[in-house]
C-alpha cells in the first residue's frame, strides 16, 4: 500500500509546517518506537500503538494490545478509515483525506495536545504561599474582633443602661463574662443581680449599697472619739475572690491605729497595742470594785486586784483532794461540779444556791424537820417560813401534851384557859422564831457565805455582785479550750478567799498563743482571734445618718 503522510507541526505563529512523505509498505506501524512508519515521539504514545492495513481501497486501523485509539471520539479496537474520519492516537490527531492519484491513502498527523509538563513546572508563587491555604488574616481578625466587641462590651454596656435590653438579653447573662471571680457564699443570693452592689457605672461600690441589707452592723468606735466615716466597707471586705468573703484580718490593719492611739483618738482610754506576743497590755477585766452601787471598772491584772463581791467562798476548801464530809458521805468536788458552760460555751452559767450549793448547804433550821427549808435570796419570806413551822408545832404538839394533864383542867373556865394557852403558844413561837432567825442569819447559816447584818427592823443580807463578763472587749470561748485543764489557767485549788480574781493573766495565754507570726510550737493568734471589729453600740447606719 502506498500512503502519503503529512506531519503537521504548528508553531506559536499558528502557521503550519508540513513535512510530506510517501511510504510504500504492507502495513503502517504507528508508535513511539523508532521503527514505526509513523513515529510519534511523545511519551503518551505506546512503543507500538496501532497498525493500519488493508487493500483494494478498504483500510482499517487496529489498536495494538490494549492501547487506546479514538475514532471520531469513540474508543475502537478496529475501525475502517474513511476520508474525513478523525482518529486520536494519544495526543495526536490523524485526519484521513482523499488519496492523491497513484496513492492508496492520505493521512495528516498533528500533535494537538502538546505535553504540558513545562507549564506544570512553572508554578505560580501564589501556590507556595501559606496565605493561599488560610482564610484572610484581615477577615479573621475583624470578624472575631467584632464578635468580641459586641458580646463582651457593647451588649453588656447597653444592657446596663437600658432595662429593656437587659430584659431581652437576660437569657444570655450579658454580664457573666464581666464577672472577674466567684462571689462569696454569703452573697450568693444576690450574685446574679450586679446592681445590688454596682449601682453607678465607673463608681466604686458605695457603703449605702452594703447598708441597704446590713442594717445592724455596728460602728467600730465611738464617732465622738474617732471618726471612721471615710472608710469604705469594701476596703476591708473584698468580693469576687471565691466562696469565702475576703475580710481584712491582718494585725497591721489594727496596729495602724491602735499602735499609737494618741494620734488618731487623743481622748480614748484604750491602751496602745502592737501585737499579742510582745506588745499587748495586761488584761483589764471588768471587776466590781465597790459593791455599793455597784461600781464596776476595768482593772489591770497587774498587780493582782481584788474583787469585792460580798460573797465568801473559799475555793481551796471546796476542792480538797481528800474530799468533803457530807450527810451523803465523802464527796470530792471538781470545777465542773459547780461551773457549767453556758449556751455557746463562751461563759459559765451563773452559780445558783439551790443548784450548786444546796446539795450540801441545807437551808433547814429545825433538826426534826430537815425538809422544812427557808427560801434562798428572799429574807422577807424567811421569817414567815420559820414562824409557820413553829406555829404548826404549837398548834399540834404542845396542846396535846397539855391536855394529857387533866388535873390542871378547870371545867367551866374553858375560854379563859384557851386564851392563856394561845398567848403562851404565841410567846413560844416568837421565841423559837427569833432563836432560829439568829441561827439562820448567823455565822453558820447565811453568814457562812454572805455578809449579814442585824438591823432594828430585821436581818439583811448584802447584795452579791459578781461580774457576769470579765473580758468584755474580747471574745474568749471556754468551749474552744476544753483540751486544757481548768487549773492550767485558774488557780482555784489554792485560792482561799473570794476576793481573789482567778482570771489568768496574759502570760498564761502567751504560753500557747504567739501572735500573728508565732515562734515554733505556738498558735498563731491575730487581733481578730480574740477581738471583733464592729463592736461599738451605735450602728453604722445611725452614724451615717447623723453625718
Amino acid at each position: 500500500m502506498k500512503v502519503r503522510i503529512n506531519q503537521i507541526i504548528r508553531k506559536r505563529s499558528r502557521l503550519a509546517d508540513v513535512s510530506e512523505r510517501d511510504v510504500d509498505v504492507l502495513a503502517i506501524k504507528i508508535g513511539r518506537s523508532g521503527a514505526s512508519d509513523i513515529h510519534l515521539a511523545d511519551p503518551r504514545v505506546r512503543l507500538d500503538h496501532a497498525v493500519v492495513d488493508g487493500d483494494e481501497g478498504r483500510f482499517e486501523i487496529r489498536a495494538v494490545g490494549d492501547a487506546i485509539v479514538l475514532v471520531d471520539g469513540r474508543p475502537s479496537a478496529v475501525a475502517a478509515l474513511r476520508p474525513g474520519a478523525k482518529i486520536s492516537v494519544g495526543p495526536y490527531e490523524f485526519r484521513i483525506g482523499e488519496p492523491p492519484p497513484g496513492l492508496d491513502l492520505a493521512i495528516a498527523v498533528e500533535l494537538v495536545q502538546p505535553f504540558d509538563a513545562e507549564s506544570a513546572t512553572a508554578m505560580t508563587d501564589d501556590m507556595r504561599m501559606v496565605a493561599r491555604h488560610l482564610p484572610s488574616r484581615r477577615v479573621v481578625a475583624w470578624t472575631l474582633a467584632l464578635a468580641i466587641f459586641v458580646a463582651f462590651l457593647a451588649v453588656p454596656v447597653i444592657a446596663a443602661f437600658s432595662p429593656g435590653v437587659h430584659e431581652a438579653t437576660k437569657a444570655f447573662r450579658p454580664f457573666a463574662a464581666w464577672n472577674s471571680g466567684r462571689i462569696s457564699n454569703v452573697h450568693s443570693p444576690i450574685a446574679e443581680t450586679c446592681s445590688s452592689c454596682h449601682l453607678r457605672p465607673f463608681v466604686q461600690v458605695e457603703n449605702a449599697q452594703c447598708l441597704a441589707c446590713h442594717t445592724s452592723t455596728r460602728q467600730h468606735a465611738d464617732p465622738e472619739i474617732v471618726d471612721l466615716g471615710g472608710f469604705r466597707c469594701e476596703s476591708c471586705h473584698k468580693e469576687h475572690n471565691g466562696p469565702r468573703l475576703a475580710t481584712r484580718a491582718d494585725d497591721g490593719f489594727c496596729v495602724g491605729c491602735h499602735g499609737n492611739l494618741a494620734k488618731v483618738a487623743p481622748t480614748t482610754t484604750l491602751v496602745d497595742v502592737a501585737g499579742f506576743a510582745t506588745a499587748h497590755p495586761q488584761f483589764r477585766p471588768t471587776l466590781v470594785i465597790d459593791p455599793i452601787g455597784p461600781v464596776v471598772r476595768r482593772v489591770p491584772l497587774d498587780p493582782r486586784p481584788t474583787e469585792t463581791s460580798n460573797l465568801r467562798f473559799p475555793h481551796d476548801k471546796h476542792l480538797r483532794r481528800d474530799g468533803l464530809r457530807t450527810t451523803a458521805g465523802n464527796v470530792t468536788l471538781t470545777c465542773a461540779s459547780c461551773h457549767v458552760p453556758g449556751p455557746g460555751g463562751t461563759t459559765m452559767q451563773p452559780i445558783r444556791m439551790e443548784a450548786q450549793c444546796g446539795g450540801c448547804h441545807t437551808l433547814a433550821f429545825e433538826r426534826r424537820f430537815p425538809d422544812w427549808t427557808v427560801p434562798h435570796g428572799e429574807p422577807d419570806k424567811v421569817r414567815r417560813t420559820i414562824t409557820g413551822l413553829y406555829s404548826q408545832i404549837a398548834l399540834t404538839e404542845r396542846r396535846d401534851v397539855d391536855r394529857a394533864q387533866p388535873g390542871r383542867q378547870r371545867p367551866g373556865d374553858l375560854a379563859a384557859e384557851e386564851k392563856t394557852q394561845r398567848e403562851a403558844d404565841q410567846a413560844w413561837v416568837e421565841a423559837r422564831t427569833e432563836e432560829a432567825m439568829a441561827t439562820m442569819f448567823g455565822a453558820s447559816g447565811c453568814g457562812l457565805c454572805h455578809a449579814t447584818e442585824r438591823k432594828p427592823d430585821g436581818w439583811t443580807v448584802r447584795a452579791v455582785h459578781v461580774s457576769r463578763l470579765f473580758m468584755e472587749k474580747a471574745r474568749f470561748s471556754h468551749a474552744r479550750h476544753t483540751t486544757v485543764g481548768c487549773s492550767e489557767c485558774h488557780a482555784a485549788q489554792t485560792s482561799s478567799t473570794s476576793e481573789e480574781v482567778l482570771l489568768p493573766g496574759i502570760a498564761t495565754c502567751r504560753g500557747c498563743h504567739g501572735g500573728a507570726t508565732p515562734e515554733t510550737g505556738k498558735v498563731a493568734s491575730s487581733c481578730l482571734s480574740c477581738h471583733a471589729f464592729h463592736t461599738h453600740a451605735d450602728h453604722i447606719r445611725s452614724a451615717e445618718a447623723a453625718r
Binding site: 511519551p43 513546572t121 507556595r128 491555604h133 488574616r137 466587641f149 457573666a176 454596682h198 475576703a246 490593719f253
Partner: protein
C-alpha cells in the same frame, strides 16, 4: 560584624526585660493583699496598667514596620519588641494573680498568651531558619531548582521514550506534574508521602536489579536512574525550602489577627472592670 536583633547593643533589651520581670516577681512575692492576689490590688492595678501600655506599644511596632519613610533601622525596635514582649508574659501573668475563669478577663489573657507564643515561634524561626534556608538552597534559588527539575523531567521522558511502555508510563507519571507544595500540612511537613519520582526510581532500581535488559536498554535505564536520582534530591530540597518559607510566614497569620483580637478584648476587659468597679 553583623549584629542580630537578638544581640542588639549587648542584649540591652533582654536586660531591661529581665529586670522588669524580676522586679515584678519580687513585688508579687512580697505582696500580701488581704484578699487573694488579684488584678484589683495596688500591685494588680500597677502590673495591669504597665502591661496594657506595653501591649499597645508592642502593637504599634506592627504599624511602624509598615510605614515607609525614615531611614533609621528597625533593628532596635524589633529587639525591644521581642524582649519586652516576652517580659509581658511575666507581668501579665502576675497581674492575673492566677485567677482564671470563663470571662472576658481570662479571654484577654489567653489571647495575650497566643500572641506571645506565636511571637516566640516567629523569633525562633527567624533566628534559626534563614541559615537552614541558605544551606539548603546552596547557590540555587527555588526557581532554579524548579527549572532544573523541569529539564531533568524532559531528559527523563526523552530517555524513557525508547523503553518499555510500563517503564515509560511510570516515568511520565513522575514527570508530568511537579509534586511540590499542596496542602498546608504537606507544605509544613516538607515531605510528599506519594512521591511519584521516588516510586518511579524504586521501580527502575528494581528493574535494573533483575538484570534482564539488553546492554542498550541497560545503559538507558542507568541514565534514567541518574536523572531521577538528581531530581529526587532537588525535589527534597525544594520541599524543605517551601517548608522553611512556610514556617517563616505562618506564625504571622496567628500573631497579627490575635493582636487585633487582644486589643479589642483588652478594651473590653478594662472598661468592664471599671464599669462595675
Amino acid at each position: 560584624m553583623h549584629e542580630s536583633f537578638l544581640t542588639y547593643k549587648g542584649f540591652l533589651f533582654l536586660k531591661v526585660a529581665g529586670l522588669a520581670g524580676l522586679l515584678a516577681l519580687a513585688l508579687y512575692i512580697g505582696h500580701a493583699p488581704m484578699d487573694a492576689p488579684n488584678g484589683g490590688t495596688w500591685l494588680g492595678y500597677g502590673l495591669g496598667t504597665v502591661s496594657a501600655l506595653l501591649i499597645l506599644w508592642l502593637a504599634w511596632f506592627g504599624v511602624r514596620k509598615r510605614r515607609y519613610g525614615g531611614v533609621q533601622p528597625l533593628k532596635g525596635w524589633l529587639s525591644a519588641h521581642v524582649y519586652l514582649g516576652s517580659a509581658l508574659l511575666v507581668l501579665g501573668t502576675l497581674h492575673t494573680g492566677f485567677q482564671f475563669g470563663w470571662n472576658v478577663h481570662s479571654l484577654a489573657y489567653a489571647l495575650m498568651l497566643l500572641v506571645i507564643a506565636s511571637g516566640i515561634f516567629g523569633t525562633i524561626a527567624y533566628s534559626r531558619l534563614p541559615r537552614l534556608v541558605a544551606a539548603n538552597r546552596g547557590r540555587q534559588t527555588l526557581e532554579a531548582m524548579i527549572a532544573e527539575i523541569s529539564s531533568l523531567d524532559r531528559g527523563a521522558r526523552q530517555a524513557a521514550m525508547a523503553l518499555d511502555d510500563k517503564v515509560n508510563a511510570t516515568v511520565v507519571a513522575a514527570s508530568e506534574r511537579l509534586q511540590l507544595g499542596g496542602s498546608l500540612i504537606r507544605i509544613l511537613s516538607g515531605r510528599e508521602p506519594a512521591c511519584r519520582t521516588a516510586a518511579c526510581l524504586a521501580h527502575l532500581e528494581e528493574l535494573a536489579a533483575k538484570g534482564t535488559l539488553g546492554p542498550e536498554e541497560g545503559a538507558t535505564l542507568s541514565t534514567l536512574v541518574r536523572l531521577l536520582y538528581r531530581k529526587g534530591e532537588l525535589l527534597h530540597r525544594a520541599r524543605l525550602d517551601l517548608r522553611y518559607q512556610a514556617l517563616l510566614d505562618i506564625w504571622l497569620h496567628v500573631h497579627i489577627p490575635a493582636t487585633v483580637l487582644l486589643i479589642v478584648a483588652l478594651i473590653a476587659h478594662v472598661v468592664s472592670v471599671f464599669f462595675f468597679w
